[in-house]
Subunit: 190 residues, 2 copies
Amino acid sequence: MSPRPAVRPGGRSARVQRAVHDAVRELEADQGRAALTIPLIAARAGVTPSTIYRRWGDLQDLLADVAVERLRPETPPADLGGLRQDLEAWAAGFLEEMSSPPGRAYIRDALTGDPDAGNAGQCSAYALQQVEVILSRAVERGEHVPDADTVMDHVVAPMMYRVLFRPGLLDAQYARDLVATLFYRLMPLP
Amino acid sequence: MSPRPAVRPGGRSARVQRAVHDAVRELEADQGRAALTIPLIAARAGVTPSTIYRRWGDLQDLLADVAVERLRPETPPADLGGLRQDLEAWAAGFLEEMSSPPGRAYIRDALTGDPDAGNAGQCSAYALQQVEVILSRAVERGEHVPDADTVMDHVVAPMMYRVLFRPGLLDAQYARDLVATLFYRLMPLP
DNA sequence: AGCTTAACGCAAAGTTCTTGCGTCAAGGGT
DNA sequence: ACCCTTGACGCAAGAACTTTGCGTTAAGCT
């Protein structure tokens, strides 16, 4: 995993981490990402630069840490009463969030400087978890459901691919089309 | 697009670009990516650091430029006589290349520091082009073929998603399984 | 051949990064 | 409740990297 701290999560360390994360978000909003430097962030957070260098390593690692936190879903997927509706709504919201400029920036931050894909893996785990909530609710209703990996491969992956590699080919309908393809062609036969 | 030069592609500029690109690859092989710095690259290439700063901006932009060049396919996809065989072979080779440590590193380099996804878009265009070669050959044979975008969404995208977000879930069989799913479930009905 | 101008080298100034050392406080034990 | 151990922080000096102005070179054009 990346240099996520959490070694001694007590009072002071936690305070520093929060101050630094807040400083990153404030400066990012104020000055834009290109203006971010570690000395600047440290000054805003009220710590010395060397503290950040020691805990996070470099700017990329710090931004990756912040990005993963920002990409964590805040609420479970809405329950609309049926698998198809739940998946469509979740996929549309997910695509909306990920294709926005800040969303794309966070994804790229989470991907960079991360040889073993620890941060990126965490993001994928968040999405997988949301999908599994939707699927297990559908199972309880007695619906036929696809594998979570099938949803990841044929709904989440195409959206993320276009977000990262082919921006401009994205709208809310695309998410619904992928779910439709999942239902009409990829669903296990009942 | 990124600060790719090409403004005055004449003798000297071309020489400098080649020397710098070569220096990046040599140092990357010798010392590892973590050791790369612009002054080091400049020294190896026989230019002054300011030349690199002016032409490429920073290390990320330079690495992205090198990565796109390295990710350009060197040969058209093999013609094995049938769409399914061609796609399976190409997908397996593509996955093999992209999932290798250097492959993943190049992809991440191409993605980073690239707000408008110019470099990443180029990589996707390379893959699309290869797919289109395979598909148009199949059309000439009179085979039924899927859309290129369908192949991108349901074969290329899942592979790239796992390369970036879920390493460890990858083997050559996965590529073949995706092509099999394309054929049995996603193909247009004849 | 001469002209125009993008691109390069050099060097100085500014900023960022690294590192050693002393200090502080979190977590744990007596 | 108090002390002990140790990870984390602040400070400051030194090193490395980045930026920038200016003179020079050579590519592309007429």
